[in-house]
Symmetry: C2
């Protein structure tokens, strides 16, 4: 059964973590809001005009009658069905914990350019953004990436992945974070990357997975831009 995926059609944003999992799995899916009339379909769910549970916001996934919202929740569901999470309960919980930590990093990264409010333009909060970003790059990125670096190093299978031997959805999400941080803060990442060699190797290994590589070259991969989570504002890249 095919998946219907709902997310904003012109950004990678939070939806990209789901798109990467669908692509790596080789799953059959429709990126609904990128099709004719798809935005109206998505809005109908958010407005509560459709049957089933009410998503707070995109992204959400429809699979049969089931609606699953929130990125980490979607990935836990997809991961179990598509072989992107460990089959045992302890492994599945561990993958989910890593994903929720990725989600925290993503939220903190988003707030570098919107530290006051998502209802205001970046240009209306640029001074606050400069202050927040300086702290984010100095303290938070090294803390998060240093944590994931240690997780890869502690993986007993020495696979270069986060969990066990195989690719799990947090590997894909960490790839996306690293790609996004490089896009957003190229100068800062030149300083940070030598501290996390395991993660750089993981990023490169994910980029070379055949399904991921084909996706990244396709038109389905929306380029990074200044409407998503990861934005390049040179004045923030200290």
């Amino acid at each position: 059964m095919s998946y219907d995926f709902y997310y904003w059609p012109v950004i990678q944003g939070r939806g990209e973590f789901v798109r990467l999992a669908l692509e790596q799995a080789g799953a059959k899916y429709t990126d609904v809001a990128r099709e004719e009339g798809g935005m109206e379909k998505m809005q109908a769910y958010i407005a509560g005009k459709e049957a089933g549970v009410l998503p707070f916001a995109p992204p959400f996934l429809k699979h049969g009658d089931l609606i699953v919202a929130q990125v980490a929740n979607i990935l836990d569901y997809l991961g179990a069905r598509e072989g992107l999470t460990p089959a045992d309960e302890a492994g599945r919980i561990w993958a989910h914990q890593l994903q929720l930590t990725v989600a925290d990093l993503v939220q903190e990264c988003h707030d570098t350019h919107h530290p006051v409010s998502t209802a205001l333009y970046y240009e209306e909060q640029i001074e606050e953004a400069k202050r927040r970003t300086a702290n984010f790059l100095k303290l938070r990125v090294p803390k998060y990436l240093g944590y994931f670096e240690r997780v890869v190093a502690r993986n007993r299978s020495a696979s270069g992945k986060l969990i066990g031997d195989g690719v799990t959805y947090p590997d894909l999400s960490l790839f996306q974070c690293l790609a996004g941080l490089r896009y957003s803060f190229p100068r800062a990442m030149v300083r940070i990357e030598p501290q996390v060699p395991n993660l750089i190797a993981l990023h490169d290994a994910v980029a070379e997975l055949p399904n991921v590589a084909a996706y990244l070259l396709s038109e389905r991969r929306i380029p990074f831009n200044e409407h998503g989570v990861f934005r390049h504002y040179p004045e923030l890249d200290g």
Copy 2:
């Protein structure tokens, strides 16, 4: 088998969402860091000196050999074992989605007093905090609470709860959010509460659950204070 719960000993913070679930379930647990020598035990896990997976930060739960970190992940695990989440997959996913949306609200609330950095004191970011909080109270609190209000209204069992007839862990977490928002922003909440009567009734119903009521009166319930997520700074309560 008893649970070992690890969290900072002097605040409610994010750990309180787990404490409430443990208490409502009547589960046997140790709040480790509040015992003699407990802080050292907790730090050993964070430092990676213990066997098992590496938590990024407290709270985390140890149950046998299993370590579960991240609030929503802990609650999904506890909920399934202690009857605080629906037994069917669709219901469990729905509860988790609601919890992850609560987590987003909690993060946004935390950042009202720390919009620049958690490494700086509130007093060092008070101007940014005023601006962020004004937006949070005007736009974000009504949006989140309005969403949960609709979820209660759409619950076909008309139980006044979020899901079905019984108490689930997102009910407990929403109680905690409402209590925290009232503590933090008493003036703003006077204006907002009339818009969400279902949630006020839910808050009161949770407070009257015998296990929760006993907990709230006990010394195990740490009072709100200005070190946790929900802080009362009168100058922010517009």
